[in-house]
């Protein structure tokens, strides 16, 4: 298992080894082919057959395919019920199948590609934006920090819940979310200090045109008149 924070299933299949960017492109094209034309039984049948073949090639097998279908069962059921209220049954069925196929195709990419590889592909894909002055490495930094922050914020949330229980306060979401937010904001500000201490400057960013003098040193100085 790749840990709770990932849906990736490790493997060595051709699909696993394909570069993330190729898979993303494939997903884009495949997704369009499935979702744009009117849902016809023939098209969806072919798509389903290709999808099953791909799951087998990826070494995920029919069990994983079934697991993926099972995971979205409620979405499908509930969509289908909504459709049946307003649409003829065969249109409803075909539209639901189309949606299911698209979701399964996307899941195939998710299951065979490490999140870090996709992030890297995105960063490279954004490369041309550099010329427009966008600091793409800052995008990568924020994405990395967000991943890092998820378990920390989850800890903060359970702390907030526990202390709320310990004080015997009623269980409204406000009583939990306020300390959670304060903890999260304080954590964010501590991380900003750590970033500065590790040599990252506020004015590292060339698109920042404000007086760098003020921003560099004065981040902690109360406003003076």
């Amino acid at each position: 298992m790749a840990g709770p924070l990932s849906l990736y299933v490790p493997g060595t299949s051709p699909l696993h080894r394909l570069p993330a960017s190729v898979k993303l492109l494939g997903l884009l094209i495949g997704g369009l082919v499935i979702t744009v034309p009117r849902p016809e039984p023939l098209l969806l049948g072919v798509a389903a057959a290709v999808l099953v073949a791909l799951y087998l090639v990826a070494g995920l097998g029919l069990t994983e395919l079934a697991r993926q279908v099972w995971a979205v069962r409620w979405i499908i059921v509930v969509v289908l019920v909504g459709q049946l209220l307003f649409l003829p049954w065969h249109v409803a069925a075909l539209t639901s199948i189309r949606m299911l196929l698209a979701i399964l195709l996307a899941a195939l990419v998710t299951l065979t590609t490490r999140a870090s590889d996709i992030l890297e592909a995105i960063e490279r894909g954004l490369g041309p934006l550099r010329r427009l002055g966008v600091r793409t490495e800052r995008i990568a930094l924020v994405l990395g920090m967000a991943i890092r922050a998820v378990p920390i914020v989850i800890d903060l949330a359970s702390e907030a819940r526990d202390s709320q229980r310990a004080r015997g306060v009623g269980g409204g979401p406000t009583a939990m979310v306020v300390p959670l937010l304060v903890g999260a904001l304080r954590h964010a500000d501590d991380v900003a200090d750590a970033l500065a201490a590790r040599g990252m400057d506020d004015d590292e960013e060339p698109v920042m045109l404000e007086g760098s003098e003020r921003l560099r040193g004065a981040s902690r100085r109360p406003p003076r008149r």
Binding site: A102, P179, L181, D189
Partner: protein, 208 residues
């Protein structure tokens, strides 16, 4: 401090953007309820989206929600019920997710036109109702209609089921925003001014 330039992000802006993306993910763990007759689960995540708008402001809130959606897209199970991966952007709730970005931006604009201003409750409430419900549905409903094939009007009708829950969340978001402004004033000043993290004497007290 006038900070109207969208990309003049300080270090604490960057870290807050990241932490709020994580926060909305964490709120999703509180669980989701799927209502019969609709495919979009109710979660505390949309409460988090509203708070991103009211506390981070328009630009930072919108960027933060974009960060979350990018992480979801690359395959992290950060949506309620552990959902994630590209699939969610091809499902019926895709439009609502994209609506989070625009919603947070509109909330930020309406709640605090000027950075550093203390939030006024009625403004915040209006912002959450307009941005957190109006804008999110404005994008969510048409996309849901496209994906499911159910006509627009009927889809809108189906989505009405969620409006009462969302109004409750808008009220909660307002109460929470005002409480956070008291408990951690630096939340709205951009950068905290006077706390030294490891010295409890200066740490602000939480008055929940």
């Amino acid at each position: 401090m006038s900070e109207s330039r969208p990309f003049s992000l300080s270090l604490s802006d960057l870290t807050r953007i990241a932490v709020f993306a994580a926060l909305v993910a964490a709120l999703g763990l509180a669980g989701a309820i799927s209502l019969f007759g609709n495919a979009v689960p109710i979660t505390l995540q949309t409460l988090g989206v509203m708070l991103a708008g009211t506390i981070l402001g328009a630009w930072r809130g919108a960027i933060s929600m974009t960060v979350l959606l990018v992480l979801v897209a690359v395959g992290l199970p950060l949506l309620s019920g552990g959902r994630g991966g590209f699939g969610v952007f091809l499902g019926p709730s895709a439009g609502y997710l994209l609506g989070w970005v625009a919603g947070a931006a509109v909330i930020g604009l309406l709640a605090a036109p000027r950075r550093g201003a203390r939030p006024r409750p009625w403004r915040v409430l209006v912002a959450c109702l307009v941005g957190g419900i109006g804008v999110v549905y404005l994008i969510g409903v048409p996309v849901q209609s496209l994906v499911t094939g159910v006509p627009l009007g009927e889809t809108a009708l189906l989505s009405l089921v969620f409006v009462p829950g969302d109004i409750v969340k808008a009220v909660l978001a307002t109460l929470i925003t005002v409480a956070v402004a008291k408990a951690y004033p630096a939340a709205f000043g951009g950068r905290r001014a006077a706390t030294t993290p490891s010295e409890p004497t200066t740490a602000s007290k939480t008055t929940a």
